[in-house]
């Protein structure tokens, strides 16, 4: 199959490849140039080899050339990123206009800090409506199947949000707003203040019992 070289490059972490394949939704990546870092390729080959064998989703196996930047290494160590996530972010450095796909919170936070566009499996599923690949009803069924059919782990309260938003979208049309879903505050909150400066997420960490 001739690959469309003008398509957006999507550098993939293992999560979206595995989770979308579990939901029979990997074909939704067909309009991307899917780049898979070597470490991610090996991880997916081990855990979900069928995800690499979809004829409609030609995947490019990419190998990181050259050393990993010290800044990325330090960030990766601080956030305990795995080899696949580090390689994916290293590849993103060479194609910063690409889209990084991950379902890992730490990898997504790191990508944000580095200024990259990043989304996950939920975004790809919902994008299928906008792109006319699936109907809203079909996407809703796949979102609702996540707890049973997918290893994508999201907390129960959070998992309700995307289906609720989609129902609101169906009811109110594209102009409709997303429903508000308030989560209870996390009990272990120790961070005193978080704020954005110059595009970076900086937070002031207070000592327990400190000023």
């Amino acid at each position: 199959m001739e690959k469309n070289k003008t398509a957006t490059i999507a550098v993939c972490d293992a999560g979206p490849l595995i989770h979308l394949d579990e939901l029979d939704s990997l074909d939704l990546l067909a309009d991307f140039q899917v780049w898979i870092p070597d470490a991610v390729w090996k991880e997916v080959q081990h855990h979900r080899p069928t995800a690499l064998q979809r004829p409609r989703v030609p995947c490019e196996h990419r190998v990181v050339s050259g050393p990993i930047a010290p800044t990325l290494l330090a960030l990766s160590r601080a956030l305990a990123l795995d080899a696949g996530e580090i390689e994916a972010l290293a590849i993103m450095a060479s194609v910063p206009q690409a889209l990084f796909l991950t379902d890992d919170a730490a990898a997504r936070l790191a990508a944000e800090q580095l200024g990259y566009r990043v989304h996950g499996s939920i975004g790809i599923l919902l994008r299928a409506i906008r792109r006319g690949q699936l109907t809203a009803t079909e996407v809703l069924a796949r979102l609702q199947a996540i707890p049973q059919r997918s290893s994508l782990h999201i907390a129960f309260t959070i998992s309700l949000f995307a289906p609720l938003a989609l129902v609101a979208f169906q009811r109110d049309g594209p102009g409709g707003g997303c429903p508000q879903l308030r989560l209870p505050p996390h009990p272990a909150t120790r961070v005193g203040k978080a704020h954005r400066l110059r595009g970076s997420l900086l937070c002031r960490v207070t000592h327990p019992g400190g000023a």
Binding site: T8, T71, A74, L75, R77, A78, L79, A80, A105, A106, R108, L109, A110, Q113, H119, G120, I122, G123, I124, L125, L126, R127, A128, I129, R130, I154, A155, I158, F161, A162, A165, L166, F169, P174, C178, L181, L183, H186, A188, T189, R190, V191, A194, S200, L201, L202, C203, R204, V205, H207
Partner: protein, 64 residues
């Protein structure tokens, strides 16, 4: 602000003969990353919620 691993960094600096200005810059970077790690540890549920909201917004209304 919590300063983490500066003793390790200082030892590394002395060993490698890093200039003081570069040491300070590296120290700031280390502390930013450590703050990020702590932020992630503490705020993971809120982050996941925000990420899903962003995915919903991009998926339904976003542009490529």
């Amino acid at each position: 602000m919590v300063y983490v691993d500066t003793s390790v960094l200082l030892a590394f600096t002395l060993t490698k003969g890093m200039e003081p200005a570069r040491f300070q810059a590296a120290s700031r970077l280390f502390n930013l990353f450590e703050a990020l790690r702590r932020f992630l540890d503490v705020h993971r549920p809120e982050l996941l919620e925000r990420f899903i909201r962003e995915d919903v917004e991009w998926g339904l209304h976003g542009e490529e």
